[in-house]
Amino acid sequence: MVYPTLATFALAFSDWDGVSPRWNWVGLENFARLFRDPVFYQALGNNLIWVAVFLLLPTSAGLALAYLLNHPVPGERFLKVSFYLPLVLSPAVVAVVWSWIYHPQQGLLNALLAAVLKGLAALGLQVDPEAAYRIGWLGDPKLALAAILGAACWRQVGYVMLLYLAGLKTVDPQVVEAALVDGATGWTLFRRIIFPLLAPITVIVVVVSTVDSLRSFDLVYVMTRGGPFHSSEVLANYMYLSAFHDYRMGYAAAIAVVLFAITFVPIAFFLWRAVKEEVKEEG
């Protein structure tokens, strides 16, 4: 994996088209073009939105679920499996199934909305249930990114929940009992005792969420190919399209370099921690 990474960096300074055996060294031209490309900024912005959403929604939902499911709950196993089942599915399958869910006429979501609107209409409100079928989740530039993120979060929540469940197992019950004796309950107990004890897991969750959101490709590619009008574009998808649809490998490599530069931050942080731990263990 070291070789392809280095090779990507080299390609970023070339004008290779992916087919011809030779190419020219073009210096920083690809980067110069990239930084003038509005689509690049759209993709970058969307990637950042993706990171923000991933750091916020699946993490807090996953933590809440793990915390609650760490209590004795009737049907605990069923509940856990329901939440992490989507994780087992291929992102490509998730993308296809959610494309159906978002389909304007045949899809699940609009059918659901129409049923709700019908209920409201029955209560005497002035709403048109048929209006629901006119929402094009993946076809509307204003909605496409959010729609894809919805599917992505659906898949991610279970992962965070599993990580936190594993973390909660390592929490010393004696510490919790001592806190209970001292009168800490509910929210205080969670905020002051349990959450700080989960800090090592939280670091992992943050790194994993950031890296996963920067990696996002399958869902975008299968659901919208970045469209409509690049509204749901992300770097990985833009890179794929540049390389294999426009045959601008050098340009795609330049996008890859930017993507790598961004991902490197959380990865470096994670590695730095791993080294610290190793050194500690070696004593």
Binding site: Y3, A7, A92, V96, Q105, D218, L259
Partner: protein, 274 residues
């Protein structure tokens, strides 16, 4: 913690879980209906008839059976390669003290998180140069290479729990490294190997990117890429497409429900040290 949750919270949890399953349940329901039935009467109508036609058609005509077979042809050899190589690498990393042990380990760990798309251009070129582009061998080789990092990382943590005295006494008894790896390390790593096998099966089977980049002939494509094709081809026939997707998930679901414990162990082994 013996604190019980209030019935209200338990109710909320159940509602959330059912909501979470709803996309899959909905997909299953729609896969049993005909397109006409769905378009004429809508999702909420009571279906006039329940049919397995969508599954039959997806399996045979739309080529799901072929794509599934391809996925197995790609996944199983990759899995075998990963297990053999990573168990050797993990053994070496723990057993021998050498200066490069930590850098190599960090390399495995770090590159495991790099976005794979970043690598697709050189890999595409390399596959062409090796003459394996558009053959089963291409995804098999690259899956094996790229998944080694994670597998080695997990197995290394596993190996470290084995007391070194065990290896030392084996050496005293005259066992070579090869024998120690095969007779002592491998059996002791078995739970770790099971976790990795389950997880890697799921990941490789679910891979989309390499099937897309390294294969162009339709008859070689794995189920994930094949499914994306299907979506383009049968663009309006959602019951059929959804039936195909559900068929595509069957192998991973079977592995998952059979070996759930190892799957979860593997995911969290990478993250926490017990």
């Amino acid at each position: 913690m013996k604190v019980r949750l209030s019935p209200f919270v338990v109710g909320l949890l159940w509602a959330a879980a059912l909501l979470w399953l709803f996309p899959l349940v909905g997909a299953f329901l729609v896969s049993l209906r005909t397109l006409d039935d769905l378009t004429l009467r809508g999702f909420w109508s009571w279906p006039r008839e329940i049919t397995l036609d969508n599954y039959v058609q997806a399996w045979a005509e739309a080529g799901i059976s072929r794509y599934l077979l391809n996925s197995f042809i790609i996944t199983l050899p990759s899995l075998f390669g990963i297990l053999v190589l990573s168990s050797m690498a993990a053994y070496a990393l723990v057993r021998f003290r050498f200066r490069l042990a930590l850098p190599i380990f960090l390399l495995f760990l770090g590159f495991n998180m790099v976005p794979f798309q970043m690598l697709m251009l050189p890999v595409f070129r390399l596959a062409n140069q090796l003459g394996v582009y558009d053959t089963y061998l291409a995804p098999i080789l690259f899956h094996t290479a790229f998944q080694l990092g994670f597998a080695t990382f997990v197995l290394r943590n596993f190996m470290r729990t084995i007391p070194t005295s065990l290896f030392e006494s084996a050496v005293v008894d005259g066992a070579g490294e090869w024998t120690i790896w095969r007779r002592i390390a491998l059996p002791l790593m078995l739970p770790g190997l099971a976790a990795i096998a389950t997880l890697e099966f799921t990941w490789i089977f679910n891979d989309f990117l390499w099937g897309l980049v390294l294969l162009s002939r339709d008859e070689l494509k794995p189920i994930t890429t094949g499914l994306a094709n299907l979506k383009g081809q049968y663009i309006a026939d959602w019951p059929l497409i959804v039936a195909g997707s559900l068929l595509a998930t069957l192998p991973t679901l079977i592995v998952f429900f059979g070996l759930q414990r190892y799957f979860i162990q593997g995911l969290t082994l990478g993250a926490t040290k017990e």
